[in-house]
Amino acid sequence: MNVVGLRSPLPRRTVLRGLARGAGVAVALPWLEAMAPRRARAQGAVRRFIGGLKPMGMSAHRAHPFGDFTADHFTPKATGANWPMTTVLQPFADLRNDVTILSGVAHRAIETAPTDSICHDGNCVFLVAQDPVEANDGEIFSSQGGGRSMDLLIADRIGAGTRLPSLELQVAYDLQKRWTHFLSWNSAGQQREPMRDASKVFDRVFSAGVPDQGAQNQAALERLRRQRGSVLDGVKANIATLRKQLGVADQARLDRHLGSIREVEQRIASLTAPPTGSGCSAPARPSTSSSFNVVSKAMIDLLVTALACDLTRVATFVIGGGAQDVMYPFLGIPDVYNGIGMSHHSITHGGSDVREWADKIDAWQLEQFAYLIRSLKGAKEGDRTLLDQTVVLVGSETSSGYNHNFGGWAWGGESRPKGSPLDNAFVLAGGTHYFKHGTHVRYKGGTAHHHQVLRACYEAVTGIEGAASASWIPAKYQGPPAPGLRGDRSAEMI
C-alpha cells in the first residue's frame, strides 16, 4: 500500500472538500503539519498505541465444541521464530518479522467470574483492568467496562497537546445505530462512543469541522476558532451556572457533558497552531459509505495519517463488533444459505459446512490489521518507521466466536475445566524499542495472563517501568509484564 504519500511534502494549498453535506466547500490546509510537535518527533520520542478488535474470535471456530479441535485456524502449531503459517494468518506472511503471535493468554477476571462471561462481553475487559460492571437496563449484553480503559490512560499521559488525545474508530454498516462492543471506556459504565462515518472522521481530524463556513484561508480559520471559542465559553459558563443547582448524581452527568465539550474545545483550539515546515499530507476526504471494505481502508488511511501528523497518538479500531450481523457479500458469501442468514455472527455459530466462510472473514479482518501494520511500517519517521514508534495490540472479544466466551478451550484438544486458564490470542506489533518480534509465544497453563500483556504494552508506550507501570491494575490482577516479548523466551513457554 502506499497509504497517503506520507513521504511527499504537503502541497501548500491542499484543497479539501468541506464538511457540509455535499456543499463542496474548499478548505485550505496549510496548517495541517503544524499540529505536529516536530521537535519531539524528530527525536523519535513520540510513541503511540493502537488497540484493535477483530470480532468473534481470532479464528471463529477456534474452540469448536463437539470435540472438533482442528478448527483453530489461527494458532500456529509450533512456537518460536519459524512458526508454521496458518489459514487466517496468511495476511501477515510478509510481516512475520514485524509481529508477535501470542496465544494461551489467560484472563483472570473471566476465570474467576461466577459464570463464563456471556456473549462477547470480552470487549469490556480487553483494555479495562477492572472487573466489568453490569448495567440494569433490561437489555442483553449489559456488561460495561469497570473503569477507564488502558488506551485512554495512555492518552492521559502522552496525548496532551495533540488535536485529539485519542481517536476511536469503528467500521460499521449502520452509521447511526449504537453498536455494542467497543474497547474504549471513559470510566466505569461509560463507553466511549466511536466514530463510524469515515467522512466525519476526516472532518474531525483534518478540517475545521464546520459546515458551510468555507474557511478559505488562515484568517477565516482564525475567525472560526474565535467564534467557536466564544460559543463554547458561553456553554461552559451555562454548565457552571446549572451545576451549582444540581445534586451529586446529576452533577456527575453534567461533568461528563462538560468533558465532551472540553474535548471539542481542545480540538478547535488546536486549529490555530501556526504553520511551519512540511511533514505530512492529508488523504482525500472519503465519502460516507457503509460498505465494509471501503470504510475499513478509508479509516485506516485516516488513522495512519493522523498518527504520522501527530494529530493523535492513541487510537482504538474495531471492525464491526461482537455479535453483529455483518454480511460479507464482497467476499462471495451469500446473504442466506440453507435458509439461515449468513452474517458473520451466524457463521461463527455454524457448522463445518460454513467454516470456509468463517476463515474467509477472519482472514479478511486480520488483513485489515496487516494493512494497518504495513502502512505504519511504510511511513518513515526520522530514521525509523512509524511502526517502530507505535504499539499495535490486536485481539478479540471472545476466544472463540463459536463458544461466546472470552477464554475457551485450550489448545491441543483438552476441554477446559471450569476455572482453568483461558486461551486468548493476539497479534502484537511495533514498539520495537521495547518488543522483539518475529515469534509465536504461547503461554502454557496460564503462565501469563491478560493484564500482563496489557502491562507490557503500557510500559512500551509510556516508558514507565517498575511498580508504577502496574498502578492502574487492581492488585489482584497484577503481575510482571508478560514474559517472552523482549527476546527473553523462557522455559515457562512452550
Binding site: 433490561g138 462512543e193 466514530m195 465559553d233 451555562n238 443547582q245 474535548e263 440453507n338 455459530h349
Partner: protein
C-alpha cells in the same frame, strides 16, 4: 431481561435454554390492587370512519380513591434524574422552537434503548462524538434561523439599537429554548457570547447566530433538569411551574412546552392538580393540538409495539419469499404506524384493541403483500392505508401484523422461541433470563438454526431438540407462547400448514395468573388482553416510557394511579398516560 438480538439479517436468536427457575417477575414485590373496581365502560361510543379527524378524548374519569399510603404528602417519590433530550425529542423541540423540520438528530449516533424505550435517563449521555454532532447541528440550525432574522427578533435593532435588541432576544429566545425564564447569570452568559462576537468584528446577525448556537449546546436546552422551588413539609421538592410545563409537554408531546403552557407557568397556574390536569386534557384532547398529541403518544406506542425497531434492512430468504424486497420493511412500518394512530385516536386507544382489533389499515401495496399468502385479504386500490376488516379467527391486533411477526422471526424460519420470549417480556412483563453458556445450549442452538425440515413442524422440532429436563423447566414457560403464532411464517404472513401438516397453536400458559390452556393465538391474546397481569404490564410499559426509567418500589403509588385510570377507561393508552399527571408525585421530585 432478554431483549431481541440486535439482528437485522438473521443471527440466530438467543436460545433461551436456562437452568433454574424461570417463573416469576424479576421486579417482584409490587402486586398492588388496580386502584378500583372492574374495568369500566368508559370508552368512546363508536368510532368515526377512518381518515376523519380524531375523536375527542373522553373526559377524564374521576380517579378512584387513592390508598391511604398514596395520599398526597405521604407519597414516596421515585428517582427523577436529569434527562437529556432523546433524539426524537430533540427533533420535535427544534421544530417547535425554530420551525426547523429537518430532523437533524436522525443522523446522530442512535440513542441506546433501555427496556425497549429510547428515552432512558441513565443511558442518555453526551459523548464526545455526540457533542461534535450537537455543535455542527446547532451551527446549522442557527445559520438557518438567522436567515429570517426579522421573524426571529422581538425587536427592531434599527430602532432599539443592536445591543439592546440582542438583550431582548436573549431573554425571549432563551425563555423558549431553556423552557423557563433565564436567570440573570444565564442571560449574562449568553449575552457574553454576543458581545464577544461583536468585539471580534462580527456583524449583528452573526452575533445572534452564535448566541443561538451556544443556547442549543447548553445543558439547560439539552437536558431537563428539575431544580424545584423549595422543599415542602415532608422533604419532597415542589417543582416550579415551568418544570411542570416541561414534564407535561415531554410526557404528552415529546417536545417543548407551547406558549400557552409557558403563559400558564408565568401566571403560576400550574401549581395544583386541577390546573395541571386541565392543561393535560387540552394537550391530548383539544383538536387544535392533535398533531402534537399524535406525534407524542406515538413515541410510546411505536416502541411498545415494536414498529420503530424494524430495521430498514430486515431481510428474508429470497428463495422462499421473492416478494420480500428492500422496500418491504418500510412498508410494514407504515402499516403499524397507521394502525397505532387509528386505534389510539379513532377507536378508543384501548389495550385490548391493540391486542385484538380484527382489522388493520392497508394500502394497495400492503394488501397485495398480504394477499399473496392469504386470499381472504381484500384487494385495495387506495394509495394510502384504509381500514380493512380481517378474519377474526386469523388476525388479532398488532401481534398478527407482518411487521411484528417478521421482526420476531429469523430470515427463513419463524423462530417460535424468540417470539415466545418477546411475548412474555413485552406483554406479560416477565422477562426470561438468557441461557447459561453450555455446550448443550450451543448444540441445541445449532439444531434449531437449521432450515425447517420438509417433514417436521417447528413444534415437532422443539419437542425433539429441547428434551433436557433443565432446559424444559424453563422453556415450558415461553415455547407455547411463540408456537401460538406458528400460523405466521418468517415473512409475517398467514400459513395454514407447515411441513405438509396442520399447525397446532393450542398451548398452556404457565407461571402466570392465567395458568391454563389456550386454544390458539387469538384466544391467547384475548386472555392476556382481559387479564390483570396483561393490563398491569401494559401500565408498566407506559410508566417506563413516561418516567424514562424502570419501575422501583418507590413508584408504587404512581403505578397504582395508572392502574386505576386504566381500569376506569378500559386501559385507554391516553388515559393511562394522562394518569401520570394525576399521580400524587407529579408536582414534586424526591429530595
Amino acid at each position: 431481561m432478554v431483549s431481541r438480538m440486535p439482528t437485522a439479517t438473521g443471527a440466530p436468536a438467543i436460545v433461551a435454554l436456562l437452568l433454574g427457575a424461570c417463573v416469576g417477575s424479576i421486579e417482584g414485590g409490587m402486586g398492588f390492587e388496580p386502584g378500583g373496581g372492574e374495568p369500566g365502560s368508559g370508552g368512546t361510543a363508536g368510532s368515526p370512519p377512518p381518515g376523519s379527524e380524531p375523536s375527542p378524548l373522553p373526559p377524564a374519569q374521576p380517579l378512584p380513591p387513592s390508598a391511604e399510603a398514596c395520599a398526597p404528602g405521604k407519597v414516596q417519590l421515585g428517582r427523577t434524574p436529569m434527562r437529556r433530550l432523546s433524539h426524537a425529542e430533540y427533533n420535535h423541540t427544534v421544530a417547535d422552537l425554530l420551525g426547523d423540520a429537518t430532523a437533524p438528530a436522525s443522523a446522530f449516533p442512535a440513542d441506546v434503548a433501555s427496556f425497549g424505550y429510547d428515552n432512558n435517563a441513565d443511558r442518555l449521555e453526551v459523548t464526545t462524538i455526540l457533542a461534535e454532532d450537537y455543535l455542527a447541528t446547532a451551527d446549522a440550525l442557527a445559520t438557518r434561523a438567522v436567515g429570517n432574522l426579522a421573524a426571529l427578533l422581538p425587536c427592531d435593532p434599527a430602532k432599539t439599537g443592536e445591543d439592546a435588541c440582542a438583550g431582548q432576544f436573549v431573554a425571549a429566545f432563551g425563555k423558549r429554548a431553556f423552557r423557563r425564564p433565564l436567570s440573570s447569570e444565564e442571560a449574562a452568559n449568553l449575552l457574553a457570547v454576543y458581545r464577544s462576537s461583536r468585539q471580534g468584528g462580527d456583524d449583528f446577525a452573526t452575533g445572534i447566530r452564535l448566541t443561538i448556537t451556544a443556547a442549543l449546546l447548553s445543558p439547560q436546552f439539552l437536558f431537563r433538569a428539575e431544580i424545584g422551588a423549595g422543599q415542602v413539609a415532608d422533604g419532597a421538592v415542589k417543582l416550579t411551574g415551568y418544570e411542570v410545563a416541561s414534564r407535561l409537554s415531554y410526557l404528552l408531546w415529546a417536545s417543548m412546552p407551547d406558549d400557552e403552557l409557558l403563559r400558564a407557568a408565568d401566571a403560576g397556574q400550574l401549581a395544583t392538580d386541577a390546573e395541571v390536569r386541565a392543561q393535560a386534557m387540552r394537550m391530548l384532547g383539544d383538536p387544535r393540538f392533535a398533531a402534537r398529541a399524535r406525534r407524542g403518544l406515538a413515541r410510546f406506542s411505536a416502541q411498545w409495539i415494536p414498529a420503530s425497531a424494524i430495521p430498514a434492512n430486515l431481510t428474508k430468504d429470497p428463495a422462499q419469499w421473492r416478494d420480500w424486497t428492500a422496500a418491504t420493511p418500510a412498508l410494514l412500518k407504515t402499516e403499524l404506524a397507521a394502525f397505532i394512530d387509528h386505534v389510539t385516536w379513532q377507536d378508543g386507544g384501548k389495550f385490548a384493541t391493540f391486542l385484538q382489533a380484527p382489522y388493520t389499515l392497508l394500502d394497495r401495496e400492503l394488501a397485495a403483500f398480504y394477499r399473496a399468502k392469504d386470499p381472504t385479504i381484500p384487494a385495495i386500490t387506495s394509495a394510502t392505508p384504509v381500514k380493512v376488516a380481517l378474519d377474526p379467527a386469523r388476525y388479532a391486533g398488532f401481534m398478527t401484523r407482518a411487521g411484528v411477526m417478521a421482526l420476531e422471526a429469523g430470515p427463513a424460519t419463524s423462530k417460535p422461541i424468540r417470539r415466545g420470549v418477546f411475548f412474555r417480556d413485552r406483554l406479560l412483563c416477565d422477562p426470561v433470563p438468557p441461557p447459561v453458556p453450555d455446550p448443550k445450549v450451543d448444540q441445541a442452538r445449532a439444531e434449531l438454526d437449521k432450515p425447517a425440515a420438509a417433514n417436521e413442524t417447528e413444534r415437532q422440532r422443539l419437542e425433539r431438540v429441547i428434551t433436557d429436563v433443565q432446559c424444559v423447566s424453563c422453556h415450558r414457560v415461553f415455547n407455547d407462547l411463540g408456537l401460538a403464532f406458528e400460523n405466521f411464517d418468517a415473512s409475517g404472513r398467514w400459513r395454514a400448514q407447515q411441513a405438509g401438516q396442520a399447525i397446532v397453536t393450542a398451548g398452556v400458559l404457565v407461571g402466570t395468573e392465567l395458568e391454563g390452556p389456550f386454544a390458539g393465538h387469538t384466544d391467547l391474546l384475548g386472555k392476556v388482553a382481559q387479564s390483570r397481569q396483561g393490563r398491569e404490564c401494559f401500565v408498566k410499559q407506559v410508566f417506563r416510557y413516561a418516567a424514562g426509567r424502570g419501575e422501583t418500589v418507590a413508584d408504587a403509588c404512581t403505578l397504582a394511579t395508572l392502574n386505576g385510570a386504566g381500569a376506569a377507561s378500559d386501559y385507554d393508552v391516553r388515559q393511562v398516560m394522562l394518569a401520570m399527571v394525576s399521580a400524587p408525585g407529579f408536582l414534586y421530585r424526591a429530595p
